[in-house]
């Protein structure tokens, strides 16, 4: 696990190419502290920061073919490298190393651009083919590993994180107002858009090729579901037989993710998903297993009881990180330097701390349960949408809206709401049962309320821009034919997962401390298999992840396997407005800084801050707005403002 960077073409700066590459790789050194290397070639440059996990001695990068015509720089893991290597050896390839890096290189020599199709893994990589004068950059199917690119003065630059691109003279950080609108509506910028104007991400499951003639971005994998009408390709299969196959796939996905030349640990949140993974690991390798978790002071967020239950049941050596509100607020500026994007929740911050604990314990690799909620329909939003459709079919029922309370037993606020306000809230968009975004409309509507705080300038730049219209246009052609559950799963798995969960909570938080997260539930074989399972088996009545629970019920204590979904949450705005709030909050939210940045209305921010300080239990909208505003101001301070000061420092000389 590493960081990559490079360019295609000829950098139009006075700096020598090697210096540019050094700067880029240096900016992402946290991703790969074990070794750093760059290569300036005729027509392209490649850089690499390495975290050694497989073939510690032989896997150095950038790696070249024997004749040095093809060069590779790679971030990630190819979990099926053993099987791919055997097949390539059978075809006459001779390997110099034991690394998965060389497997990609030889597979490319064999199959060209289609090599991605055979890879089972989390990857982003760049291949420079001097014979064809072609650069290829590629990203894994689910978007576990990041990859960004931009063009400047006719040269294409790419890197694992945006901060590497910002090292190139002439590339500056400027907030994209449309991205901010999207984040303040949906929680993520719509790929390929990023928070940075003019800087794109390569979307998951895509390959970009660049030749002197053209740049081409192509999708090589698409998450797809069967039509709602008809039984799909699993017609006639019993639930028991599908559960058995699911279990075998899950075990294989876990088994190949234990391949490593360094020890592998696991996150154990106490929830169903990480418990399943931990239990599977223990079945596969009976060795001592180290597990890690976050603990909170407040019972509203804390899950220590469940964690301890699993620790005892599985006999792991467990360590927990106590995360206070002050810890979250103190870490937040660093968190935003790593997420590189405004966010509306503090949830990444505890994970930032947790990866620090993992690293201090001497671990570089952890398995987690991330992805199960998207793949097997675990999120409450899926149940909520099902209930809303159920209520909409009998709008006069007095009884049906009461079911909403059963949905969110862990939200004290909701328990106090009356039947009619529940009905009013959840029927948002109730008129539009055929809206492809139906499942997510209440969430999007609540989130959009945060845009109340946008400045006049932002509003006029945005005009009548509609982020949801953009999202609707982005959906696959077959989307409307899918079952409603599949539709809402797609919105989570294809958008929120890579756009927020895997990036801001996942890769960026673990790599901040050079820790690699591995996600068995996101093995693409399992993802494709789960997509074909009939929706009624994924969610039976209101029992989420039903078939997953069935498939592994003998592995877990019953209290865990029957436990309803408890989403991972952390304290939000009160971290910044309570008694322990750090001093930077006043600076970042001061009228001068708010007005200079220009994104928010200074008067409105003052009022919000005063309100949150006076009344700690503010509603959802204000909670998200407070975190969103602080993170945006921190983003500005870390990226845009720094660019401005550097520019200002350089400018007088240029003018003189």
């Amino acid at each position: 696990m590493c960081g990559i960077a490079g360019y295609f073409g000829k950098p139009a700066t006075v700096l020598p190419e090697a210096k540019i590459l050094d700067g880029m790789v240096g900016a992402i050194a946290h991703r790969g502290p074990d070794a750093r290397a760059t290569r300036v070639l005729a027509g392209a440059g490649l850089g690499h920061a390495r975290l050694s996990i497989i073939d510690l001695a032989g896997g150095a990068q950038p790696m070249a073919s024997e004749d040095e015509s093809v060069w590779l720089s790679f971030n990630g893991e190819i979990f099926n490298h053993v099987e791919l290597r055997d097949a390539l050896v059978d075809q006459g390839h001779r390997f110099r190393t034991k690394s998965d890096t060389e497997v990609i290189l030889r597979l490319y020599l064999q199959k060209g651009l289609d090599c991605v199709e055979d890879l089972n893994g989390d990857f982003s990589f760049a291949i420079w083919d001097a014979r064809k004068k072609r650069l290829m950059i590629a990203r894994d199917r689910m978007g576990v590993r990041p990859l960004f690119y931009t063009q400047n003065n006719g040269c294409l630059y790419f890197a694992s994180e945006v901060k590497a691109l910002l090292q190139v003279p002439g590339i500056a950080a400027e907030l994209d107002p449309v991205a901010l609108d999207q984040i303040f509506t949906m929680w993520f910028p719509l790929a390929p858009r990023t928070a940075f104007k003019g800087i794109s991400e390569l979307p998951p499951g895509h390959v970009l090729t660049a030749t002197p003639d053209a740049i081409n971005v192509r999708r090589y994998w698409q998450l797809d579901y069967p039509d709602a009408d008809g039984e799909g390709s699993f017609a006639g299969r019993s639930e028991a037989s599908l559960a058995e196959e699911l279990r075998a796939l899950l075990f294989d996905a876990t088994r190949i993710r234990l391949r490593s030349d360094v020890p592998v640990g696991a996150y154990l949140s106490g929830g169903l998903d990480s418990s399943i993974i931990t239990a599977a690991v223990k079945k596969i390798t009976p060795d001592a297993l180290r597990t890690f978790s976050v603990a909170f002071e407040s019972g509203e967020f804390d899950e220590r009881e469940q964690q301890q239950e699993m620790v005892a049941a599985l006999d792991t050596r467990h360590e927990e990180l106590m995360c206070t509100q002050a810890d979250i607020a103190d870490a937040f500026p660093s968190v935003i330097r790593h997420t590189e994007t405004p966010i509306l929740r503090t949830a990444p911050a505890p994970l930032f701390g947790l990866s620090g604990l993992v690293r201090m314990s001497g671990f570089k690799v952890v398995l987690t349960g991330e992805g199960a909620d998207e793949v097997f329909a675990g999120y409450d939003i899926f149940k909520e949408a099902k209930l809303r459709r159920f209520c909409a079919s009998q709008p006069d029922s007095r009884f049906r809206p009461l079911l909403y309370r059963r949905l969110y037993p862990y939200l004290p606020q909701l328990q106090n709401q009356s039947q009619s306000s529940l009905a009013a809230f959840f029927s948002a968009g109730g008129m539009a049962l055929d809206d492809p975004l139906y499942s997510h409309l209440p969430r999007f509507r609540t989130t959009s309320g945060t845009k109340l705080f946008f400045s006049e300038q932002m509003r006029s730049e945005l005009g009548d821009y509609d982020a949801l219209a953009d999202l609707r246009e982005n959906l696959p052609a077959d989307f409307t034919r899918w079952h409603p559950l599949s539709q809402s799963q797609y919105l989570e798995a294809a958008h929120l997962l890579p756009g927020y969960i895997l990036s801001s909570q996942g890769d960026r938080m673990s790599m901040a401390h050079s820790v690699e997260g591995r996600y068995p539930f996101l093995d693409h074989r399992l993802v494709e298999f789960a997509a074909r399972i009939p929706p009624r088996m994924k969610m039976r009545a209101l029992r989420e992840k039903h078939i997953l629970r069935e498939s592994v019920k003998d592995l877990l204590p019953q209290t865990i396997s029957d436990r309803p979904k408890q989403p991972y949450r952390a304290p939000d705005s009160q971290c910044f407005t309570g008694a322990d709030a750090p001093a930077y909050v006043d600076d970042r939210l001061s009228r001068p800084e708010i007005e200079t940045a220009g994104y928010f209305d200074a008067g409105a921010v003052e009022k919000l801050l005063a309100k949150c300080r006076k009344r700690p239990n503010v509603g959802t909208r204000d909670n998200m707005a407070m975190v969103g505003i602080i993170s945006t101001q921190l983003w500005h301070h870390a990226f845009a403002e720094r660019a401005e000061t550097e520019h200002a420092r350089a400018e007088p000389r240029a003018v003189a």
Binding site: Q413, S418, S421, A424, T446, D601, L608
Partner: protein, 87 residues
């Protein structure tokens, strides 16, 4: 004695939900939910205010949009509760 909490309610709404300076007023009758000034959890902030600052006790079944959707409705509801208490 006839009490009128309307100005207190208005002050609370303006302080806690009317964030933007370019929107100076909110009319007594406009829907706070429909205009996006208040979300459903905002209703709970309002309930907490009425209970702690105004001093009325609110039953679950009274938390309905008819009672809480505009300054006028909130004030009428709260005034009625207060006059019932003082009788």
């Amino acid at each position: 004695m006839q009490v009128d909490v309307r100005s207190d309610v208005r002050e609370f709404i303006v302080d806690n939900f009317l964030f933007r300076e370019d929107r100076e007023t909110v009319s007594d009758t406009e829907s706070l939910l429909e205009n996006g000034l208040m979300d459903s959890t905002g209703v709970l902030e309002l309930v907490a205010f009425l209970e702690s600052d105004i001093g009325i006790e609110i039953q679950d079944n009274e938390i309905v949009p008819e009672n809480f959707d505009s300054i006028e409705n909130i004030s009428n509801y709260a005034n009625a509760k207060l006059s019932k208490n003082s009788n």
